[in-house]
Symmetry: C2
Subunit: 420 residues, 2 copies
């Protein structure tokens, strides 16, 4: 899917030391994978599966920056993540935004290929391969006002409706620009975060920043089954890149009024605090009733395995629904929401212990869809009203971003918007 | 070195599901390593080296809980870490402390072997192997007052001297009890943290808690060369477990007045904030002058490679010392400090962006030694006075803990103290 795999990129002098490492790794018999932004999914899953693979695949895997879609959407979950939102600086407009996106795109392409950030590189990623680094860029609602591009702002980017259970912190929500960084190595991810921040220069100021994580590749023998910090398998109903309607559900097609967004997507970002002290007081049975699935393997309470369809109408010997009326799995089921589908691709977060003594931990929920009004919004509206899980979570921050398609070679992310 | 490798432990019903996973992994050809607390170092380093190794080694590696020394000291750096300090609850004394250490020891042994935490397990580590989990316990100065054991308190545990550059936050310093958790998987580490916290029950209350990380195994082809968030290779001068005087420098020998501490060690814990915005403004050359080593490979500025001895007296064409007078590498050199040696085994930390807009990031410095007055203290005293690096760091929290030797089978950590 990528029209410019990493290996096509010119190698400049500045990256000799890291290139040499990668060369050595390859020479020792390891597979130095170079994956397209979308094509990465299958190869990565295979690497995490049964077949013995060189450990250094973790470091040497590079994800392509160019392609139809930006990387970091269909890319498999990474072990480490940073989210950072910026507002354009006072006085900065379309011209400065374009220059910034050009700088950031060059930088992201270099870092994702395992190259240096150039002059002033902090050195934090030295010795390491790209480690599946991805850098993904999005534009918030306010970006279009700031750049005089409101005519190019799709209505899908209108602010999300308020939900009754929201307890949102405006300072940690929204933003003109949003950057998602993911990698399988924490230092590689941190290195990219600092480089992106520094490259913002005078054009943009940090609005908020959050850190997250997922399971390390290889910690389980299964291919990256995600669990969240409640212990639940999370992501079972996700559309799969191999499914025929995946692209249609996740990516904006060409031919809309907003052609600059062709191949792009919308990201809904929510900082969802888990009230773990309360949750962990529930018995296993109670927890499973809240979710509607078995904790051990994610199978519906009506039986089978993780991927078995829940028998939503099935009743038990007591005449009651086996999967309760307000179970999370029932309320969030696509068939209960007009087939709404979104690709949930979260990171867990844990920021220590809050002032009230409870863990400041939960989910950096990120979901991707071609239209938030047919993905996140209808599902969240139902969950907001009737979900048994809602007593144990709290939405603390929120953002909605339009994420342009992937850049062609020589192009920067958002160029089709900013030079329209 | 471990007298009770994991595989000797009885397997109980509660851990069947995770055992089954490990069995499958082993059956697929991966090496399910089971390592002693001290013996882990060599095997782990080999796994991170050149030879192709099954990726799932990351998950299936278990570190033994029992042995001469506690795990988590000579164990290679892990990708994820949590530090948590507790104070005994009002009214709790020696009896409650002994019961707590017994509970915690049973739990740590189970978790490190990849078993469940028992009733009420949160499920967060389900599917994953032990992923090199270690849980290490220490006692602070105040622990001995609280338990009526002041006669058993070694003078080495007296509060550290104040250093002029300290800016310590008492709320994030010290504590009756200290637990260090490390693992190569973030969910396994978080699972252990929550289990330890829950098992404290009414006996102890959390005083402070910090999170950290290191490079993921396999991100570099080299064996786990550590870099910190300044981009420096960190730990070059560390004593190696293979060196003949390693044990003598790091572990308390038998035959002292404090026999309960035989095989134990002292941990100095400092939250060292890095002033990264200032540091990153320096040119590479300036940074290298501050450190006295090349950033790229850690070699002394007088040449060679990382392990070459610095030529401290060498002058350049301008007649000036090549490694400046106040360079960190000069001032911290063991030969400048009466041969003081400590084993630095840190985690980096990154808690997002502080209120003043600077990154709240740096090093959870943890160093291990047989005697802090001959390890950390003399070195820090010199650094405090003349280190060029001190303008770019800030010690924000501090703790000193006596870490008992490893438990024999059937024993709990600290039993020789608490039942003395």
């Amino acid at each position: 899917m990528s029209d410019n795999p990493v290996s096509d990129n010119p190698v400049s002098n500045k990256d000799i030391s890291r290139r040499r490492l990668l060369g050595t790794v390859g020479g020792a018999g390891a597979t130095g994978l170079v994956l397209g932004a979308a094509g990465g999914a299958a190869a990565h899953a295979a690497a995490a599966g049964d077949a013995p693979t060189a450990l250094t695949t973790l470091g040497s895997t590079g994800i392509g920056f160019h392609g139809t879609h930006q990387a970091g959407i269909a890319t498999p979950l990474q072990a480490c993540g940073h989210l950072i939102a910026f507002d354009l600086a006072p006085g900065a407009g379309r011209k400065e935004a374009a220059a910034l996106m050009r700088r950031w795109s060059t930088l992201a392409g270099d870092l994702m290929a395992g190259r240096s950030a150039g002059d002033g590189d902090t050195g934090v990623a030295l010795d390491a391969g790209p480690s599946s680094l991805t850098v993904t860029f999005g534009f918030g609602h306010t970006f279009f006002d700031r750049t005089g591009l409101t005519a190019q702002r799709p209505p899908e980017l209108d602010p999300l409706p308020a939900f009754s259970s929201d307890q949102l912190d405006a300072k940690r929500s929204d933003g003109d620009l949003w950057v998602q960084i993911g990698a399988d190595d924490a230092l590689v991810a941190f290195h990219a975060l600092r480089a992106i921040q520094k490259a913002a220069g005078d054009a943009a100021r940090v609005r908020w920043q959050m850190n997250g994580f997922n399971r390390s590749p290889g910690a389980t023998g299964k291919p990256m089954t995600a669990r969240n910090l409640m212990g639940q398998i999370d992501g079972t109903g996700n559309p799969k890149p191999s499914e025929p309607d995946f692209d249609k559900r996740i990516f904006v097609p060409p031919g809309t009024k907003y052609e600059w967004l062709a191949g792009g997507s919308y990201a809904v970002v929510r900082r969802i605090r888990m009230l773990l002290d309360d949750w962990e007081k529930l018995s296993l049975k109670k927890q499973e009733q809240v979710i509607g699935r078995r904790k051990s393997d994610g199978a519906p309470l009506t039986g089978g395995s993780e991927l078995t369809e829940p028998a939503l109408d099935e009743t038990g010997p007591d005449g009651k629904l086996v999967i309760p009326d307000n179970a999370h799995a029932r309320i969030s089921a696509p068939e209960q929401n007009g087939g709404a589908a979104m690709l949930r691709r979260p990171f867990s977060f844990h920021d220590g212990i809050a002032a009230d003594g409870t863990p400041d931990a939960g989910l950096l929920f990120i979901c991707w869809q071609a239209d938030p009004l047919r993905g996140f919004v209808p599902v969240q509206r139902k969950l907001d009203r009737g979900d048994a899980l809602s007593a144990f979570i709290r939405h603390e921050a929120s953002g909605l971003f339009a994420v342009p398609g992937g850049p062609k070679k020589g192009e920067y992310v958002g160029q089709r918007l900013l030079e329209s």
